[in-house]
């Protein structure tokens, strides 16, 4: 049994807990929280909830620690720190800062003889893998990534910071015509506006000016100004009833040419349609936690990404079984 620990019990931590339940070769040992542990109730019977301050006491009781903090401020501190004590997995998703995060985690993990996996999930994660495989197969080609339809947490937060907004949710929507143009192999150059639209569902504060709120959202730099944005005003009840989920997904497409004169076209497409973004991310993380536990047993140390892990390490099945049934 692979003994799993979770640091941080939000949507992602709960998703990890659910994914561990679906994998019979894994068990959840403890959940660590920054809150008062007495105020946190987990779903799995018999699992300890402890303070994150006591995590060092669990050094020899956990095979893989899954760090479920945020990428902005938590993970850059947490992952290098906990990699000194545990084999760890995180879902660090600030693409631009991955090289720096990798270097920090690698130094910690190597010094401690631990193995760490960063940036695990679907983007970065499964989408990255598909970009890599497709680039290696079709060196002459072009990559496209589309996201959605799905809830963007960052854009939803941005809406909620607009004066007059009580609550809100934002969906990123890929433009179907752009997807079709890409799939045709015509290698279109697409602007930001041509690739995605943004759809906002907003609950106003009592007496707020709807027109002013709509304008503030649509013109917000970085978040909305470069997109065609639609704003729908709804009630708090409608928001709770129709927009409680956290769906997401997207498409990674590479088109390319082969042949002596590049006369043949090919389209490689990978897509996800997810009812729950955090639960799917956690499911990827838990499969990779199995790989990390195995690498640790082999004496491997240092920081890894999904690029460095042979796919067979993710499976509970033996090499004979996967060759017979999945090859």
């Amino acid at each position: 049994m692979v003994k799993i620990g979770i640091i941080g019990y939000g949507n992602l931590g709960r998703g990890v807990e659910c994914a561990v339940k679906q994998n019979p070769d894994m068990e959840l040992t403890a959940v660590f929280t920054r809150r008062d542990p007495k105020t946190v109730t987990v779903l799995t019977p018999g699992v300890t909830v402890a303070s994150v301050n006591d995590v060092a006491d669990w050094k020899d009781k956990i095979d893989v620690m899954i760090i479920c903090g945020g990428s902005a401020t938590d993970l850059p501190e947490q992952t290098p720190a906990y990699a000194k004590l545990f084999n760890v997995v995180d879902s660090f998703d600030t693409h631009a800062r991955i090289p720096e995060h990798f270097a920090n985690v690698d130094a910690s993990a190597k010094a401690a003889g631990k193995v760490a996996l960063i940036s695990c999930g679907w983007d970065p994660g499964m989408f990255s893998l598909n970009r890599l495989y497709a680039n290696c197969i079709l060196p002459d080609g072009k990559d496209y990534t589309f996201w959605g339809k799905g809830v963007s947490q960052g854009h939803s937060d941005a809406i909620r910071r607009v004066p007059g907004v009580k609550n809100g949710k934002q969906y990123t929507v890929p433009v179907e015509a752009a997807l079709e143009a890409v799939r045709s192999g015509s290698n279109p150059e697409l602007t930001t506006r041509e690739k995605h639209t943004r759809e906002c569902f907003v609950v106003l504060e009592e007496g707020a000016d709807a027109a002013a709120v709509e304008k503030a959202i649509k013109t917000m730099p970085n978040y909305f100004a470069d997109y065609d944005t639609t704003v729908h005003f709804i009630s708090e009840e409608e928001l709770a009833r129709d927009h409680a989920g956290i769906p997401h997904g997207g498409f990674v497409i590479r088109t390319g040419q082969t042949g002596w004169n590049k006369e043949n076209k090919h389209v490689i497409e990978y897509s996800l349609k997810l009812d729950s973004n955090p639960e799917f991310t956690s499911s990827v993380i838990v499969a990779y936690a199995r790989a990390i536990a195995r690498l640790a047993k082999e004496g491997v140390s240092g920081c890894k990404t999904v690029f460095d892990i042979a796919p067979a390490y993710l499976s509970p099945l033996s090499g004979d079984e996967i060759r017979a049934h999945l090859l």
Copy 2:
């Protein structure tokens, strides 16, 4: 530079030659044929064409030998034999015989200190990888594989063996309604007939009985009897004009559930749309040949499959570069 050799210069061998040209870190060293080498002209200037009987002379001049024989009778003999002399890659695709082929190649390669990769391409190959990843991520779920629209060589051969048929080509076509049912997450149980249709383009011999030919095709056991099959009679000119290509493709879809009570559904889909089946297969093989050359340098020996190769080994880029640009 990775020095590549090719054994067998048919569609697949020519595809490998084209793919090597697209990868600046690789070079084609020699092509080996069972024919008289003087009768074989390759595309790449300066490349030796030699008899397959002289292949042992090239033992130290080739990093990876790509064996482009057929799965029915060639590869079961060739791959274990050549793995005694070279690091090798093949595209063995008789799924049921993979365990036996793996064992034979593994024994040869281990004894010789060589590394071998079998069953490389897209199915087996990229489709297998996607089945494995999706199964590990969503342990509670169901797999679906659809092929086409594309030319089935085996079914085209079967048509051409029917008395009265001068020439013919068969397309395997996935049923759109079945694909949609799968994508909906409804986990349908689909019969063979519900998943694919078969479309045949047939050139009759002078004076042949069209009705008899059509009946012979449509009722042929294993190949057509279990499918809805359409037969079109066309001229040799139309066949040459409209059906000269070897397109193929397909879809690997896994649907599954996550959540404490399995309340959330997810769809993972991987698809290929290929103008040239052999050129795409060769492109996958050549990317993996790079990985095999690296593993050989690391002193690895024995038989591998795509499941055993960490994705980073396929890329000409460094770890730093792929983390910065593709993660």
